[in-house]
Symmetry: C2
Subunit: 185 residues, 2 copies
Amino acid sequence: MPHIPVSPHLPGITGLLEYRQDTAEPIRALTQLILRGPGTLTFAEREMIATVVSQANECQFCTAAHAAVTDVLLGESETCELIRADVESAPISEKMKSLLQIAKQTQRGGQYVTESAISRAKNAGATDLEIHDTVLIAALFCLYNKYVDGLGTALPDDPVYFQHLGERIAVSYGRRPEGYEKPLV
Amino acid sequence: MPHIPVSPHLPGITGLLEYRQDTAEPIRALTQLILRGPGTLTFAEREMIATVVSQANECQFCTAAHAAVTDVLLGESETCELIRADVESAPISEKMKSLLQIAKQTQRGGQYVTESAISRAKNAGATDLEIHDTVLIAALFCLYNKYVDGLGTALPDDPVYFQHLGERIAVSYGRRPEGYEKPLV
């Protein structure tokens, strides 16, 4: 039962963005820029960051939603499952592993981001902007996770809800769910 | 030493907002709305929420900055010091104590916000919107704190820096540091 009267038809973040629409606007704008704007990290890579941070914060709504988007963008669900189980042994690049570790350290607390994690990312070819964006995506999902759970929003129990949500969000990336990932820029 | 090349003259959040200006815009817009926009919580009360959350996240830059703003808005520094030491015995209303506890639970994790903390706030006269805004301010400062510390930004060692910053921010609330708190609406 949500702590405030949000629409019962709008679970998780969706009801909150409807509840206070003026604050929803810059939250949506920031998300659009950092997840779906120009950048050298692929859209799927940015969604992986959102997923691992949401999972670390134990936010079931955001974890299910962004894992679903990642799956749609990659066209398979195994990679995201393996990342969620263990970043280091997942079938992703060394750069992406290092950025996901920075994201996880940021989730724990900004002061836990280590010099060695930053060096590892730079050695693996991560740019300063990619490191910046990784930390900002992690910080943004801490906002989302705490907003969604702090107000006790509803969690749909039908996995089809998240599959459809993932497809809807993936379309907003400028690609059809059935196609290959194609950056907007 | 910051993890990315931000301007050495711009410590804490200030260098990050300069580093990536497109994402800075919605972050500033959200902050302006939720901290300085129309609302029934006073500006000082909203700054108290920002301060206790930043302190719980151990973000020295944000804690010093928002404690300084609170002090300027209240015209004294004792109240904020007492809140930072112990919310329950601080000289603030029961409603404000209950909202600060919700903010602290949100900082720990959204799922830690208890029904009893929400009931306490409602019994003390907090509106649904005040509860919403408390959680969103807490969530926003988790973003700020993790962004600032996750990128290893500089912390000024001169307390005068924060006093001046507090005065500059307080002026943006539509009041002079030397005047009484006067909401914009």
